[in-house]
């Protein structure tokens, strides 16, 4: 089975808010977890409704994103999309964790730093 994943991004991080996202990544994965295709889409404006529509029309089956309102969460769940929301930090690390089947909603992949030093 081929998986189609979307990650809402802001530069190299996961966008903190689903409804205010202006860029997404769509990654196509083959059954042996190989990345077949990766494309980034810059959205004309941020809109949770438009983004939901896009996810459905693109037949996405997994979404990794930041904060999300319950209305959209329930709607996309109903549309059989697996959602990992409230994920923070590097999208690449989140994606790697998803591939390793260890990603959970609410996971934090930000460096914990104080005054430039890792804590």
């Amino acid at each position: 089975m081929i998986d189609k994943i979307t990650i809402t991004i802001h530069q190299d991080q996961i966008a903190p808010r689903f409804d205010l996202t202006t860029e997404i990544l769509i990654i196509l994965i083959s059954s042996n977890l190989v990345v077949e295709e990766k494309k980034s889409i810059v959205l004309p404006r941020s809109s949770a409704d438009d983004l939901c529509h896009l996810l459905i029309s693109e037949n996405i089956n997994t979404l990794i994103c930041g904060a999300m309102e319950d209305e959209y969460y329930q709607f996309l769940k109903w549309k059989q999309i697996n959602i990992f929301d409230s994920v923070m930090g590097s999208w690449a690390t989140a994606f790697k964790n998803w591939q390793e089947n260890t990603l959970n909603p609410g996971d934090i992949f930000s460096d914990r730093m104080i005054e430039g030093k890792l804590v």
């Binding site: 802001h10 966008a15 903190p16 808010r17 409804d19 205010l20 930041g66 904060a67 999300m68 309102e69 319950d70 969460y73 329930q74 709607f75 109903w78 929301d85 409230s86 923070m88 930090g89 609410g106 934090i108 930000s110 914990r112 730093m113 104080i114 005054e115 430039g116 804590v119």
Partner: protein, 464 residues
């Protein structure tokens, strides 16, 4: 720990002061950030508002924790740095419960003794309180979001402000759908505790073990999976109100623990020997007959006495003469606006049917009927044909022709609301069968939007 920078204040307080306790007591969400806008401290109010603990948030970028629209569109901290003044703006945030909350963010710099920026302090004001007050001003015959002009409701409207100003425990009783949650929130919002948190716990929604940890919190290592300290809802509601809904479903063992708390106002989290003092007001609600439960040995008598200091009984809709029309109009206006429909009102026959209907599910049922009717109506007036068919069910009509029984909490009448649910469920199933499972076509047949159909499918668990 924050050191005071102003020389005069520093002279007054020679010792370094631990400000965390003071910040925790302030009824505003507060985030203390370092120079790189990473979270150094969150006060208790913010933790309750956002659902994020300080352990999770520590030295993470603030936009990932606050998750406000201002963080994304126009970061107030950066704007403040550019313009060299403190910034205040209205925006919204999404908390861990996936609720979008209107907030006001104010940012100011924290300066060291040389006047250099050492960090930032951000305050978050929950604007839901103000929005509630605005609504209160604009609707006649109402208190907060509760509407009614019947004699029984007028009495309640007179009692509520008095109860709101006191600090006693309140027990709200009434049949399902009478607005117990609204009353609890209204009491909180109009009380002196309004700036503090309003924390709701549904005692019937969680299994006993989870409920205890949810209410009273737990200590790290108290049980398998307790990987960090959890403050518990009581601690999060400190200086605010805790609303225990479905109190009749609270297990007996937790009733004892709640009673102990009501006696000495001290909370002992699971696995902890150290208790802490919590100042909360308790509001409890139930649709059950607690006196009967006491007689049956299912509810502790002493707990009932503790909670029953002030009691509000919300009358069922059938006893609120004149309110049905008021509520029909209220929900009609609300749904026509929401769905952007240009409807003029109800036809005479439809109105007559609605005015004479029994409303076993009370206001919730009335609201659903109006929502359905506004959805399916294509003409200018809501006709009899646009009302749910179960209103004309022979069983319903026969039931209504019987003389009215005295109102009883937990009476079999409540169970009759199942008719509404089962008929609606059947309608959905029929439509889905007819369209071979195509939901968009089924929604068209039912005259609903796709999202309404989706919501109902979830509600009736048809998809599982």
């Amino acid at each position: 720990m924050i050191k005071l920078a102003h020389p005069h204040i520093r002279a007054l307080l020679k010792k370094n002061i631990d400000f965390t306790h003071m910040i925790d007591e302030i009824p505003l969400g507060i985030l203390v950030l370092d120079c790189d806008r990473r979270v150094v401290y969150l006060n208790r109010f913010f933790q309750a508002l956002s659902g994020v603990s300080i352990n999770r948030a520590y030295v993470i970028e603030c936009r990932n924790i606050l998750r406000s629209s201002a963080c994304i569109t126009n970061c107030p901290v950066l704007t403040m740095d550019k313009e060299n003044r403190s910034i205040s703006c209205e925006n919204d945030m999404i908390n861990m419960d996936r609720q979008k909350l209107p907030i006001r963010t104010t940012v100011a710099p924290l300066l060291d003794t040389d006047g250099k920026t050492a960090g930032y302090i951000e305050t978050i004001e929950d604007l839901r309180v103000i929005e509630t007050l605005d609504q209160k001003k604009s609707v006649a015959y109402s208190f907060a979001k509760i509407i009614g002009r019947s004699t029984k409701m007028e009495k309640i409207f007179q009692t509520l402000p008095i109860l709101a100003q006191s600090d006693t425990s309140v027990l709200i009783t009434g049949e399902t759908g009478t607005g117990k949650d609204l009353v609890a929130e209204a009491i909180h919002q109009t009380s002196e505790r309004a700036p503090g948190p309003f924390v709701k716990i549904n005692c019937g929604a969680l299994p006993e073990t989870l409920l205890e940890s949810e209410i009273f919190g737990h200590q790290k290592g108290a049980f398998t999976g307790a990987v960090e300290n959890k403050p518990g809802r009581f601690k999060l509601a400190h200086n605010g109100t805790i609303f225990l809904t479905e109190i009749g479903d609270l297990p007996l063992s937790l009733q004892v623990k709640l009673l102990t708390f009501l006696d000495d106002k001290i909370i002992f989290p699971l696995g902890s020997t150290k208790g802490f003092h919590v100042n909360v007001r308790i509001i409890a609600a139930t649709h059950r007959n607690l006196e009967q439960m006491v007689n049956d040995g299912q509810f502790r008598k002493d707990l009932l006495f503790r909670l029953n200091v002030a009691r509000i009984h919300l009358p069922p809709l059938r006893e609120r003469e004149g309110d049905i029309r008021l509520l029909l109009d209220y929900f009609f206006i609300s749904y026509t606006r929401q769905l952007d429909k240009k409807l003029k009102g109800f036809s005479k026959t439809a109105l007559m049917r609605l005015m004479n209907y029994g409303y076993e599910g009370n206001i919730r049922e009335l609201k659903n009927i109006v929502e359905y009717a506004v959805n399916v109506t294509n003409g200018k007036l809501i006709e009899v044909d646009n009302l749910p068919s179960y209103l004309f069910d022979p069983v319903t009509l026969f039931r209504e022709s019987k003389p009215s029984e005295p109102p009883l909490i937990d009476s079999p009448r409540i169970k009759e609301t199942e008719t509404w649910a089962s008929i609606q469920r059947k309608m959905i199933l029929d439509a889905l069968k007819q369209t071979k499972g195509k939901k968009s076509e089924a929604a068209k047949i039912l005259g609903w939007g796709r999202s309404t159909l989706w919501r109902k499918i979830k509600q009736y668990k048809i998809d599982s």
